[in-house]
Amino acid sequence: MRYPVTYRPAIPDDVDFCVETIIRAEKGRSDILPYARIFGLTEEEIAALLKEILLEDIEGQELALSSFTILMHNDEYAGACGSFIECINGVSSNRLKSDIFRHYIPAAKLEAALPVLQMLKPLNMVREPHTVQLESLYIIEKFRCMELYLDMVRTIAEGRIAQYPELNIKRSYAGFSEQNWFMGKAAARIGYRFHSELSIDNPEALKYISSLKRYVVMKQH
């Protein structure tokens, strides 16, 4: 590999990098940060909220520090990726995130966002319990290459499966916006296959997100 990396679980000192990872991954190739647009908050306010949420560390959804794996090249951050097991404690990740947002987002902002969230609902993945879910895939630009990206996806998915042998996990999933679909397609090289397409036919949604389509890939382990 051009830049050999090591993988390790995130620790509290990594929280700012994990926030950066979420924000970069959410933005993709656009300047639109959906969380900021949806909740009517600035990027700085979202970053501060994400930091608090990550440190609260609620397992079973992507906005938890323990869901993050950090890629290091020598002593330098090379990237990070979130991953979790759907329904690990019997509650869906979508419901956990609802509870988290209700707790952290100011009530008036959340209430104002409800019609937008309703509009964006078709893009919500229905996640299969006891499967690995990969979210917020991010590699710092200077280390970016397909080889490292594929190594990251494979290593993190297999690592999560090995962490919970008692769950006998058989599948891992990742979702990509239309702009990042090339990454989903590239994952075919390590065994991922197209699983589903989620879409919205309302162009109004583009005020809040950068793409009206989302693709999901799945690997059978």
């Binding site: 869906s92 419901r95 509870d99 947002f101 209700r102 707790h103 009530a107 609902k121 919500n124």
Partner: protein
Amino acid sequence: MEKLLSEVTEVYRRVLKDPNLVLSPDSTADDVDGWDSLNHTILMAEVQKHFQIKFALKEVIKFKNVGDMLELIHQKISNRQQ
């Protein structure tokens, strides 16, 4: 607990616009039409408003069914009355 269940059912019926909805302590989001993650946000806010209580995040994320919620509501109301 039956009275609490009846009041929670009324809140759910109003939010989910389903006057015939029937809840039991074993009901989960999977059993109730419309109880998705978005409506969950509204349901929790309305339940708290109705009973004038506040769920902590660490409490609410543990709800696996309506019965878990009823237990917590009962506990919070009892604490308030002491």
